[in-house]
Symmetry: C2
């Protein structure tokens, strides 16, 4: 049950089973890591222009790989999220060509967050977002004979951006290669289900994970356990929701988010770019129904608790 | 501010703007209704065989239409859900050819629920589901010159099956025709986001709605306000979640539910048909990420609070 520190100077930007492990551990061990970058040339106070040349071939680097002794293909790697602590600064933005509504928002946009109180952060004086940090990217190395980009997730995990993998949650991943070769990064201080704008609150982050190896379970893809309520930091003031209705879930999601951006800009007087970023950080996409053929419904839920001093302003 | 009773004997099974109104009301009025049917020949204790001949041309009838004086095309009809009370019995099932996993479950299946305590109901002695009732179908009449089936929802609302439209919520619908011609029905005593099996807990239900007309808002489709936490009846014991990863959200959702059915059958020793019904009643589909091209993630969340006397049995 050793405690390790994973150095970040060996961070990598591709999945690659030929990479030498940064550290080797035993099942039961704990690993801590502090990521130092939140996206290449993006630094506190920098201009949105840097996002015009965001390099998806060199995106947010991952710490690792961690070689877990006794983890073999077919086993399950259990990752207990023991702690996740963002730094004092984060950013969110619009990266041209990226995000659910890339066609609506061609220009780069950036917002820098003050995370220094460790509890919440403000988009505007009266729009306050509780921090709910997690690692957007946690995965085991795919078993392929070449490099694999780290932006798309897969059945090996990776860039899943699942907002509920916060402190206390346990992630299960199907091991693909000897030693698992686990890596993690792309930490977010907050993010809604969907990450519709393409970024969460991206922040250099300190995290601690504990690893176990389970034998004899056939896992088709990532699964996880969250020990308590999912959105208790957001729930108390209720939600305003928009919908998208139609025969394809992707346009439904776009329709719901467009309606939400219209609602936010009209009700809270935010510019559309800031409203889109707010959607990415706090709005949750749910599939309300997926059976009433031929039309499905995706709903976008906005937690009203983030608006301070503004009671129910629905419409 | 009159209180009306909407008779159910004029219930209809198509949207049709030529139908004479069942009642006429003013903005501000309240309407109560008791639905008497939960699906044609489906009665307490009936055999699953009736679902083999489920008639989608004559599905669950709707109470209405309600003509709201002063509601005109372009206005918004506001529907406050004041009360929803299921009867003492409900059913859920597998209707051949219907549901997210229709190809996996070709045979009819039915489960009859005892709702008599008004608080919760059991799938098995140790699997207890809190009631969280709502009207699956609430809509204004589409403005088309012919009959429209009531199973698919649209921007007029209708069969949206949005589980959070429970007591206290307010639904906003864009009025399509003079008088709105609102109808409601298909009440569910409980249902997860997605309604993956194709049924909720279908039950004859008494509901009370209050109507207002709002002018000067451009509403692209249904929107709604939920005043408090979304899943407080389910949250306390946490969730187990499965995922589907890939370039199309529909197969992602199927993959996540297939993994969840495998998990439930293995962990809680339910037959696959009952596990599928349980998914339809309590599992929530969320879009975890929709931006990490080319792969999106749909996650299925199972609330562990429904399993009594069985602490965390994850894996």
């Amino acid at each position: 049950m050793a405690e390790h520190v994973l150095p970040f100077d060996k961070a990598h930007t591709k999945w690659n089973k030929a990479l030498p492990p940064a550290i080797e551990i035993d099942a039961g061990d704990t690993v801590s890591c502090e990521t130092r970058s939140a996206g290449g040339r993006i630094t506190p106070g920098c201009d949105a222009a840097v996002l015009s040349s965001f390099n998806f071939d060199r995106p947010l680097p991952l710490a690792g790989p961690i070689f877990v002794r006794d983890a073999r293909p077919g086993d399950v790697l259990e990752v207990e999220i023991q702690d996740v602590r963002p730094s004092r600064w984060g950013w969110s933005g619009i990266i041209p060509g990226f995000g659910l509504l890339a066609e609506d928002f061609p220009a780069p946009y950036i917002y820098h967050w003050d995370l220094s109180n460790g509890r919440d952060t403000a988009l505007r004086e009266d729009i306050v977002i509780p921090l709910d940090p997690f690692c957007g990217n946690m995965g085991v190395c795919p078993d392929v004979p070449h490099e694999v980009p780290i932006v798309p997730p897969g059945n090996f995990g990776g860039n899943m951006d699942i907002r509920h993998l916060t402190k206390g949650a346990t992630l299960l991943l199907p091991v693909q290669v000897e030693g698992a070769l686990f890596s993690a990064g792309d930490c977010h201080a907050a993010q809604g289900d969907g990450e519709v704008g393409g970024t969460g609150i991206e922040s250099p982050t300190q995290f601690t994970l504990r690893f176990q190896v389970r034998k004899g379970i056939d896992l088709p893809g990532p699964q996880f356990l969250v020990p308590g309520p999912l959105t208790s930091k957001y729930d108390h003031a209720g939600y305003f929701a928009t919908t998208g209705v139609g025969p394809d879930l992707m346009p439904c999601a776009k329709q719901a988010i467009r309606a939400m951006i219209a609602y936010i800009t009209r009700t809270y007087r935010l510019p559309p770019e800031a409203a889109y970023v707010l959607c990415s950080i706090v709005v949750d996409l749910k599939i309300s129904e997926i059976v009433d053929a031929p039309n499905w419904i995706v709903s976008a839920y906005l937690p009203l608790s983030v608006f301070r001093g503004s009671r129910d302003r629905a419409q």
